[in-house]
Subunit: 291 residues, 2 copies
């Protein structure tokens, strides 16, 4: 699929990533409109030229004119939006999202929308410890992953739309997972790491230690600065997977503690050897490193 | 204290940090000798010009000629070394180390060495996921912390030596802590984070997820590549503090899990707000950022 200059995109929700999508599509020479319930992000997106037209209410005209819609809100806001505005979409309209959870979202969204409108789930794995349209330019989509999560309701045209979007926005890798596979994966690689970083900061009042910290502590806790409203929702939407990951991680940490308590140096070294070997698989390949 | 061109330094142990110390002192125009039980690191340090003379055995002449000695080994090897070679040190000789644990090491070392030799503990917080003399040039001591851990046995001259060493090697910050304070701090900012990263990698066979990981996962687990022998020893030497930190962290993670399990979004947001606020104190100040 190739986008045409005459195509009309609509971004619903102009926070950090919604505005970044609008910016990327506009830079590619495409027509982008935007809607946002509150005024500041909309004003920023208009002033910076990320969108051509924008509204905070009465979206029906912009929705019905759109060929492609990007839902860039929290999962609950997406469901509300689709219930309210879905009926205004024109037949053949293709819609995607950018939510970090998929099970419990993609199929309900597909069910809410009219038959002649196709929703295809996708997730740009490119969050940052930032928020708001004013920071959109700081988000870099290379070398991030773009994950498409089709269901039995999706068509090759819907998947081609999501792929074309990822290419236009400059993602390095595109992959397909089912919503369930996506949520299991994200529970481990993203949500568990955020839960750990948050717990590490909450475990003790550690500000007095700031002057002693090295890069390893800073790297591990960078993600403890968190957009609380959005992450509470993402955690709760995926709580079954996240609780399972927390349990598995906790029992491994307890095993390490047991080895410490019994003074078993050899058993500790076995864990260190395993972690060293496994971590090697996660090193960036040279072509993924940024210059 | 200012070092003189006629002063003789001896580095005992030419692994990554020992070789980096030798390199830094040699670059400052000082005379550095080195001893190391095995040949490869010694050969590297000689070939690269980090040391002027080196030996793998019969060190008595180099030890007795030294004005300043740096013990750059594991804690147990330092104790063995001091027991064997301490009696060869010349009166007035100043000795320091670079171990990541201090309680149970500094006072025993002071007790092992002759009365007229002063040992002052210090810890350069500049480890890397590397080892060996061949990687010494990759270690950057700016903007790392250099921690001096004096006891009642130390003199202003001993502390001045450690400060001069930190300045010569280019550390950004020097601070003084008691051995007990040092070990409590390091249990939290360094050892707990390593225990977490290792446990995260050991918790599941996750190589198939490597293609989906983003920077947050990579940052958090970077330190899971670990020098097993050295870290097993550091963990065990500080196990009381580390076990206390693991327990405190684990109960906080369990509290987060409880909030998830009961679906308490407000209580989750409270944790996120606390972690965000606390993490802000750990951001690097602009003058610490490298160009």
């Amino acid at each position: 699929m190739t986008f045409q200059k005459t195509d009309r995109f609509l971004v619903a929700g102009l926070g950090l990533l919604g505005a970044r999508y609008a910016l990327g599509l506009t830079r590619a020479g495409l027509h982008v409109d935007g809607v946002n319930r509150s005024r500041p992000n909309l004003e920023t997106a208009l002033q910076k030229g990320y969108i051509q037209t924008g509204k905070t209410a009465d979206y029906a005209d912009l929705v019905s004119a759109a060929d492609y819609i990007i839902l860039a809100q929290t999962p609950s806001a997406m469901l509300e939006w689709a219930g309210r505005w879905g009926r205004c979409c024109k037949p053949g309209c293709l819609i995607t999202d950018l939510a970090g959870v998929k099970q419990g979202l993609v199929e309900p969204l597909q069910a809410l929308l009219p038959q002649e409108v196709e929703f295809i789930g996708s997730h740009p794995m490119a969050g940052r410890e930032l928020s708001g349209a004013q920071n959109a330019e700081l988000v870099d989509f290379f070398p991030a992953n773009f994950i498409i999560t089709p269901t039995g309701q999706n068509t090759p045209r819907g998947i081609a739309f999501a792929r074309a979007l990822a290419d236009t926005l400059g993602f390095a890798h595109v992959c397909l997972l089912s919503p369930a596979e996506h949520d299991r994966m994200i529970g481990y690689v993203s949500q568990l790491t955020h839960a750990i970083a948050v717990s590490l900061m909450c475990a003790s009042d550690n500000g007095r230690l700031a002057e002693y910290t090295g890069d390893s502590f800073r790297d591990l806790t960078r993600i403890a600065r968190i957009n609380g409203g959005m992450w509470a929702e993402l955690f709760l939407w995926n709580r079954q997977n996240l609780i399972a990951e927390i349990d598995q991680f906790t029992s491994t940490l307890q095993a390490l503690k047991e080895r410490l308590a019994t003074g078993d140096a050899e058993a500790l070294k076995e864990m260190f050897a395993l972690s060293t070997q496994r971590r090697a698989a996660f090193d960036k390949k040279p072509e993924e490193e940024k210059g």
